[in-house]
Symmetry: C2
Subunit: 458 residues, 2 copies
């Protein structure tokens, strides 16, 4: 068999995993992988492979892959770069795919590059699909797979949810994963493919497009392997679910940095930006944008229009939000005379009835609900609700009331709540109740822009 396995689906539903270079020593990469597979509850068979040991963590340890009595879905290779080729040759046709977590390849210069080429050749000859090298591999809450060799006490694992992340960078994937976990946002699959000698962003996108567990895809790329295929696959994918992407390595310094990171030749940024647009991918400019995208798309579907209603209890923050909206092409359209009249009759006289609706520091819980109830009748696509907790009549019960409004209205409600300790505590409660909450005006507007598919400059 000299052909590639036609698709990469088996990586996300393995029955058996061999961990090459397995070690019982805590702190070792291969040990962390064994521990993490155990912790997440991987339901298949695990084969540690290391000639030095007879057993590791109560599992029989094999001296080589060839010694294992049956075929294996995934081989996770965590041995020095110089030994990887040998390992792969030993595997022969016994494994479907290998995740090579070892570094020391193309990112290290010409010798590493040559090593990669030999690995690629051997893998192709034996029909083994390769993820990596120089990668963390897969964190998957659906098939309960975790090859990320980072310890769970420092980098938390998210629970099950609808977001999937494809990232060329391991640190980017791990960091955003940790942030999502700390906010209680769940994920389906996180994939880090590193130096990408075989499995690439298009393969992953193609798989996730069909994946029912995946509702939203966040993509971090330094470069794209095959531009034409990427656009084809992405265009199909965005018909079914939102895809948000950040492309890094945009200008000179970034380009050089990417090259010494995963050996990627990043190419001209403008071409990427145009390709994203063509494929229906929502582009964000960096980490903040990708994180905000995950938070808002975890809860809301993409919006058809760009009309934003702003409700606030602080005038200044309301003006700031209005500015930021216009800066991204969102439309802060006025209210009809009829709605204005109704709002004026239902709200206290000191409220400013316009867009923003400014409920001022004398706001009550009910004023917010009235503002949303009436304001949203004017055909808005998104509401940004600023909640500053200074006003004394605003009660902690407001979180539940706003949750009720969120369930009553079809329009996405984005909460903007900047502030210190008390606010951060309330924001955790918003989060626990499944309401996306943002701690600056700019991040709330970024989230709104993402929902409308707008490209933001901030």
């Amino acid at each position: 068999m000299s052909q590639k396995t036609p698709d990469i689906k088996f990586f996300f539903n393995p029955k058996s995993i061999a961990v090459i270079g397995a070690s019982p020593a805590p702190g070792k990469i291969s040990n962390a992988i064994l521990e993490n597979l155990k912790r997440i509850g991987f339901p298949g068979v695990i084969y540690p492979v290391n000639p030095k040991y007879k057993s590791i963590n109560d599992l029989r340890c094999y001296s080589s892959i060839s010694e294992i009595p049956c075929d294996i879905d995934i081989s996770v290779i965590a041995v020095p770069s110089t030994v990887v080729l040998e390992t792969l040759k030993d595997a022969g046709k016994k494994v479907k795919g290998a995740i090579i977590v070892s570094g020391g390849f193309k990112e290290m210069g010409n010798n590493g590059k040559r090593l990669e080429e030999e690995i690629k050749e051997t893998a192709e000859k034996n029909g083994i699909r390769i993820m990596g090298p120089n990668c963390l591999g897969i964190y998957d809450t659906v098939s309960k797979l975790d090859t990320f060799f980072i310890q769970g006490d420092r980098i938390k694992r998210p629970s099950n949810g609808g977001i999937s992340i494809i990232s060329q960078s391991g640190s980017f994937a791990a960091t955003i994963m940790d942030e999502l976990a700390s906010e209680g946002i769940g994920v389906a699959r996180i994939i880090n493919y590193g130096n990408r000698i075989d499995v690439n962003e298009s393969d992953c996108l193609e798989f996730l497009a069909d994946d029912e567990a995946t509702k939203v895809i966040a993509l971090y790329i330094e470069s794209v392997d095959d531009g034409r295929r990427f656009i084809d696959v992405a265009s199909e994918c965005t018909k079914r679910k939102p895809v948000v992407a950040v492309k890094v390595g945009k200008r000179d310094a970034g380009v050089h940095a990417a090259k010494s990171h995963t050996g990627a030749m990043t190419g001209r940024y403008e071409i990427y930006s145009a390709a994203f647009k063509k494929a229906g991918i929502i582009e964000v400019i960096g980490y903040e944008g990708l994180k905000d995208a995950c938070r808002v798309l975890n809860v809301y579907k993409l919006s058809k229009g760009k009309k934003v209603l702003i409700v606030t209890d602080g005038g200044g923050i309301g003006v700031n939000i209005a500015d930021a909206c216009e800066n991204t092409g969102l439309e802060v359209t006025g209210l009809s005379e009829e709605i204005k009249k109704r709002l004026a009759s239902k709200l206290p006289s000191f409220c400013a009835v316009g867009n923003p609706i400014d409920l001022t520091g004398s706001v009550t819980d009910e004023d917010y609900l009235t503002a949303l109830e009436e304001g949203l009748k004017n055909g808005f696509d998104i509401a940004i609700v600023t909640v500053l907790w200074g006003p004394p009549q605003l009660t902690e019960g407001f979180v539940d009331k706003l949750k009720g409004a969120m369930q009553r209205h079809n329009t996405p409600i984005i909460v903007c709540s900047p502030g210190g300790e008390f606010t951060k505590r309330m924001n955790r409660i918003f989060g626990e109740k499944g309401m996306p909450v943002f701690s600056t005006p700019e991040s709330a507007v970024r989230a709104a822009a993402i929902l409308t598919g707008s490209v933001t400059t901030f």
Copy 2:
């Protein structure tokens, strides 16, 4: 005396304060003011004024200002808008200045506007300087003054420090105050002047320029009262200390919103932007920028050049930072061959020696120190150090080691540390040790740009 008191210095060093409309009822604005003056330890005399009471909180209560036996520095007026004029007439020439916290004036339309004009006239006739109406007034850790009528359990008060904030918006001032307090960042004076019938941004800037307690000024404006004077005063001020400003009410929606907020006619944004530039003010685009400015300028002085060294243990975040730097005009210049050689000899072989210096996930505490020690010899103006806590050899003691490096090097070191729970805990420790730490690549770069006086677009 029909002339204004020549300056507003007395507002920031009052010997006596009358609280008009004082009430013993918890929850009332005037009660919160009395409580807050007590809490902060205002060292002067407090005169509650309200005909309904004989005493409030063990203080003798006066039926009117005229009944108070001596002259008063500040009268804080917290009565309904329709009664303010009468109160001011009663005060006659007995008070130097009044902080009118009551709302219900220009921001409410023509009737309110007329009321303001009458107040202005009376104040001018009696030589009373007015702050407000529709404002929170002053929070001052130097003279121990707190007229902010927001309860301290929801909006924390910062300790004493070098930042002063001038804000037309009360909610903006209160929110940023609360955030600074929660991060342990101290302030000198926070001023919110609201509808600004008299004391304006230029008066405040002029005072703060001379104020030894103020090292940095953050300015939130919707509009400027007298453009020419503002530029003159600000130009003098920026010679002595950094001034950072955000102008809101930039485009149509924001302009309308500002008008119904403090009644401000905001004018064309481009004129403001040009005025800031002329006066040497560093412009930021919104709340995020102003907050990041406070955090970084609390610790570091403005930088002369724009050359940034990036040190990271995560390649992807390093590339993201390099991109963002170039996006703001910061220069991510390369390292000399000599420094590269030295770094290569001192760092493990898997590190990427360039700019960024990528120490990878195998990083140790010492690798960071080596990278800074050698890298900074190449004449950089700022270092951005990304600390991702996944790498197992990075110890919690690294915070102290980096603090040591910060003290050894003259170059400002900005820490970028995005992540979840563990990271946030470490970030609090960075903060407690006085190191500015930022939780996204974009905010770290914003802070660096602010230090170089660059205008950021994000």
